[in-house]
């Protein structure tokens, strides 16, 4: 049975209200078409984990009221300035924020990848990042002598969702160097991938391709969404749409402008 879904909406069916959804950073393949489809579907109460940071994707989902809890290390539009809907939501208290630090999120996903309940991490002690995370624990390392170290509980997302350049009909997905996407898929219960194109043949048959491939074994659904990361980049394939991102930053600065943006670029797209 092929994982390739007939439609994007069918592929993302499994992403339910209230689920824990893990998504990648801006340069690792952000599934923007899928994000817009989730907003159109009116998804609610997401526990969004952005590994380890986010930009437009988190801002859009937050602005559209899809997010209950956000767990990440930073949200920003980078050179286009702060992420306005994220900032507004934090200041109004409309989302629960679990501030982290990048390597903590990587380690917590690797814990689920390895089937262990926690991972240790250096740093953090004495920071307010740790102070406000009562789910993180400090122990005295049994290998040291008065050596406190932080333990991070495993993050086991219900769904991992990302965009990649290509997949084959066996469900194998080309990741290239973005190996944290493999960790996301290993850690999550289910994995949904959108891709720009379907690769003929089997990516695992060629040892060169295989090295950068996530086996279809870990992939539940795939949807074909050409340039599905737009307006974000897909490194090695296409650049960000700078003009669009600047337009977003401007429109999303106000609630009204953001509503207009949604009408123009998210809801309208459905009709197109």
């Amino acid at each position: 049975m092929s994982q390739i879904a007939a439609t994007l909406d069918e592929a993302i069916e499994v992403i339910a209200d209230g689920c824990m959804l893990v998504v990648p950073r801006e340069v690792s393949g952000v599934p923007m078409d899928a994000t817009r489809a989730l907003i159109r579907r009116g998804i609610r109460r997401l526990h969004l984990v952005a590994l380890p940071t986010s930009s437009l994707q988190a801002d859009l989902l937050i602005g559209a009221g899809c997010v209950a809890t956000l767990e990440t290390s930073a949200v920003s539009l980078g050179e286009y300035g702060p992420a306005p809907r994220f900032t507004a939501a934090i200041l109004s208290g409309s989302i629960k924020m679990k501030d982290a630090t990048c390597p903590a999120l990587h380690a917590a996903l690797q814990a689920s990848e390895k089937g262990v309940p926690f991972m240790p991490l250096r740093g953090l002690i004495g920071s307010d990042v740790l102070k406000y995370r009562d789910d993180w624990k400090v122990i005295d390392s049994p290998f040291g002598d008065n050596d406190p170290i932080v333990l991070l509980p495993a993050i086991k997302p219900d769904v991992a969702l990302f965009h990649a350049a290509m997949a084959d009909v066996h469900g194998n997905v080309w990741l290239g160097r973005q190996r944290e996407l493999a960790t996301m898929a290993h850690a999550a219960v289910k994995t949904i991938v959108t891709v720009d194109r379907i690769h003929p043949g089997n990516l695992l048959d060629n040892p060169t391709f295989a090295a950068g491939t996530l086996p279809g074994f870990y992939v539940d659904r795939i949807a074909l969404t050409e340039r599905g990361a737009w307006p974000l980049p897909l490194p090695d394939y296409y650049a960000a749409d700078a003009a669009h991102l600047a337009e977003y930053a401007k429109m999303a600065a106000t609630e009204e402008g953001f509503a207009e943006y949604l009408d123009k670029y998210v809801y309208e797209k459905q009709a197109a």
């Binding site: 920003s76 702060p82 990587h106 004495g126 406190p148």
Partner: protein
């Protein structure tokens, strides 16, 4: 020879980098990136320079975690951090201003600072806006502390803070004014700094970049920089922005 403030800062940072194996520069940091590439030119290929976001200037093949793993291995010698607030203890705040339950201002977040600040031997703090708004007595939120208790594993931390007005060194939990940039004064630095700091009786002026350094930056570094920072390279060094 005339120079731009960015050139002065990059030259100073390149000297702070010193003779090391590997300098990593985070996103949106064109001046530290200029300094790192300058150091690499001077060292004829040493240090390795990792510019986050530049495929040409990063070697990572193990995903987004490799930067942090690499630092954990002790393989990153210099990194750069900034802060919405930086205080006199070297604490940095990348999260919020105001009460945690009801913040007045929200910044993007701590990124990797709550880890890298502990494990990179030389962290150079960099904040062009030198004001009592940014340089405060005590940060509202500690993304990462400037110093740790003796029993806390820590192989790294801040060594300096460079601003548009001056250069501080950091040691023993305090900043010391090292030099004031040309056109600025010690009094002005005191006026605009929210925290106490040490200073010698005579504070030198930050030396201007040499003609040789300026040539290297403008002719050799700037074109490399343009890949990742085309606007900056155009504005500061006059590198033509490629039409795409």
């Amino acid at each position: 020879m005339t120079f731009r403030p960015e050139e002065l800062l990059a030259d100073q940072i390149a000297q702070l980098i010193g003779d090391v194996r590997h300098v990593a520069v985070g996103n949106a940091s064109p001046i530290p990136a200029t300094a790192a590439l300058l150091a690499r030119e001077r060292g004829r290929g040493r240090p390795y320079v990792s510019l986050l976001g530049s495929p040409k200037n990063t070697f990572w093949t193990d995903g987004a975690r490799e930067l942090f793993d690499c630092a954990g291995q002790g393989r990153i010698d210099v990194f750069f951090l900034s802060g919405g607030q930086i205080d006199g203890h070297g604490n940095i705040n990348l999260v919020e201003i105001g009460d945690h339950a009801h913040p007045k201002v929200r910044f993007p977040g701590s990124f990797g600072s709550a880890y890298l600040y502990y494990v990179v031997p030389k962290v150079i703090l960099f904040r062009t806006e030198h004001s009592r708004r940014t340089l405060v007595p005590q940060v509202d939120y500690v993304s990462a502390p400037g110093a740790s208790e003796p029993n806390v594993f820590r192989t790294g931390g801040p060594v300096a803070l460079i601003t548009n007005r001056c250069l501080f060194s950091f040691a023993g939990g305090r900043f010391t004014l090292q030099s004031v940039h040309p056109g600025h004064t010690v009094e002005e630095v005191i006026e605009h700094t929210g925290f106490d700091f040490d200073r010698p009786a005579n504070v030198p002026e930050t030396p201007p970049p040499s003609a040789e350094t300026l040539k290297l930056m403008r002719e050799t570094v700037a074109p490399q920089l343009a890949e990742l920072y085309p606007q900056f390279a155009a504005q500061v060094f006059g590198v033509a922005v490629p039409s795409s």
